[in-house]
Symmetry: C2
Subunit: 364 residues, 2 copies
């Protein structure tokens, strides 16, 4: 049914939204889907087992509301990351967690600071909540210069590794940012941190030192559970309490019983998690090397994707050609990055299919 | 770990929240849990089958993001309710849907109107979004007088059947409200509508007539899926579009893959759904009769709970005595309703256990 859009009854806020546009989720099979940074490996088999157990032994449970604060899942995360349970928050994917973060900490008179090239949902949240976002340009080589953040602000949000560049900021730099902005909340969005070469890259180790530091993570990437919607935040109990109150003013039960059970099983299977991350890191190294051999300039990625600029040819056209061959990558037609393709690290077979498609193009 | 709450880094919005307090979810077994209006019967067996199928045949799917707009589930709902798919919205429980409704339609200079006794999350949302909520008193017998709503407003929100009274508003009255307020969005929150005696009680039949009428429903009550978090809204495509944009400015993927598959299976099993509703209605009639025999005044409920006032004794003390016997009901220590208990309709055995506990108390 076609309809004529009528915004007469909408709030001004609704009229002024600039919604996030997720990477497409095509329904066709046999596509080589390297566009939304999903993990090429399935989740731990323990996840399906735990969910099946809820369904079989306790099917009756689905009729009951879930634990509103996801207590068992938070407890497991606290143990895994050697934290107290009141330093842990969970939500319906890290996107929901980030929305609550914006409302809880950045809705102030001073602006929020974020790199000019970063996760494209940040400006959307800023618009949604009426927050002034000041974009701090990355340096020429797409890295973050912490001195550029020396200005009054309500907070700073940085994706680390950054998206779509994949470049990692050091713990020393994060420590410096948190120290230099004691009255601002510094949020490190670590969606991709588990793919870093060094295992100690996470800023979680700094939250006991800085009461203004909040770290967000997700089950969607390194835990292969984008389909289950679980995200989390780690920080000082007073920051966690703000998020909890904000959650309970929007939606009390954001995680269903199956997501809580599946998430818990994933956290407990540490060996599978570490093995998967190691394999993705190896595949990234191989993909980087293969793309370089084809003349691409590849930024030094610590994530499960690479950001690569072709030696010649238009990146948008290359993305289109790849699509015609059934290989989907992400292209951002935006200043500074329009010469690049963001390519998710796939399985060895998927990466090979991409490389073959690119070779065909070169030889054509 | 005890901690001293420090709100220094919170936004003013975070400091001023009055979060919703859900009914408790005790973890002990053998409790007779009649406090949160869950369905006493399990969901359709097709739900567990559909989820098990995602896990077994397609376990790999959990690594992929879900369909952001829950297309298949919306299509099934459209067919079940004889609507176009662009008249349907789904969210992470009707609580999330309602939060988006408040931001999309009520965030205006004129106030929102709602009955003084209704779902206790409404004032929480109003606080969250900074919306002025004017409470219109129910009449002496707890019914809604539509003429009392004749005042300038951004919108009207009414739970129908109302909570915690269980009293149903007629379609004629809803038709009148929508007609008399062409520039306000009239939201009918039908969480409990499927338990009405007449099968045609839903205002969905009026949405083609009124472009300002929005109906919300949930899978948590009549579909026995409180544990899965699925809610929906039905209305004119322009209203649905506002909700979609607002969703995509907060959280693009609120329904995980399992919730989408389970919800779809539930919608398709219409026979099970109707049978369950019929059984709950019969049990409500029996419970009402048994409580009346014990001297309770029971409001005429069309929901899966009853609101009952004891002939003598303090309602709060009775709730406490019941709790000591393992029977949990909900008590609201608030003006006008503090003499009542809200009792969820349980299985025949649960209802009997409640009645026996109340009899013991009388004879003690």
């Amino acid at each position: 049914m076609e309809f004529k859009l009528d915004t007469r009854l909408w709030s001004t806020k609704a009229r002024n939204l600039n919604p996030y546009v997720p990477g497409e989720q095509p329904k066709h099979d046999n596509l080589c889907k390297l566009n939304t940074n999903e993990n090429p490996f399935p989740p731990s088999p323990k996840v399906a087992e735990a969910i099946a157990e809820v369904l079989s032994n306790q099917a009756d449970q689905l009729r009951l509301y879930p634990a509103p604060e996801s207590d068992d899942l938070k407890q497991a995360l606290a143990e895994a990351y050697k934290l107290e349970v009141n330093q842990v928050f969970v939500g319906n994917g890290s996107d929901e967690v980030l929305a609550l973060v914006f409302a809880s900490f950045f809705l102030k008179e001073r602006p929020l600071l974020s790199p000019d090239i970063s996760y494209s949902f940040y400006p959307v949240y800023a618009d949604t909540f009426g927050i002034e976002l000041v974009k701090i340009p990355l340096t020429e080589d797409f890295s973050i210069e912490t001195n550029d953040y020396r200005q009054p602000c309500s907070g700073i949000i940085i994706a680390n590794p950054n998206a779509p560049t994949g470049i990692l900021l050091s713990l020393e730099a994060i420590d410096k940012l948190a120290t230099e902005h004691p009255n601002a909340v510094v949020v490190i969005d670590e969606a991709y941190i588990d793919f870093a070469d060094q295992p100690e890259a996470s800023a979680i180790s700094l939250i006991d030192k800085h009461d203004n530091l909040l770290v967000t993570q997700t089950f969607s990437k390194s835990r292969s559970l984008a389909g289950l919607r679980v995200g989390m935040a780690f920080g000082n109990p007073s920051l966690i309490e703000a998020l909890t109150r904000m959650k309970n003013s929007f939606n009390s039960y954001p995680l269903d019983r199956l997501a809580q059970a599946g998430g818990l099983a994933s956290v407990k299977d540490e060996a599978y998690f570490e093995e998967t991350c190691r394999k993705v890191i190896e595949l990234r190294q191989q993909l980087t090397s293969d793309l370089s051999d084809l003349g691409f300039s590849v930024l030094p990625s610590q994530a499960n994707f690479v950001f690569a600029r072709p030696e010649q040819g238009n990146a948008g056209e290359i993305a289109q050609t790849l699509r015609e061959q059934g290989v989907i990558v992400r292209y951002f037609n935006q200043p500074r990055v329009s010469e690049y393709l963001r390519i998710t690290v796939g399985t060895a077979e998927q990466n090979q299919r991409l490389i073959e498609a690119l070779k065909q193009r070169v030889s054509a």
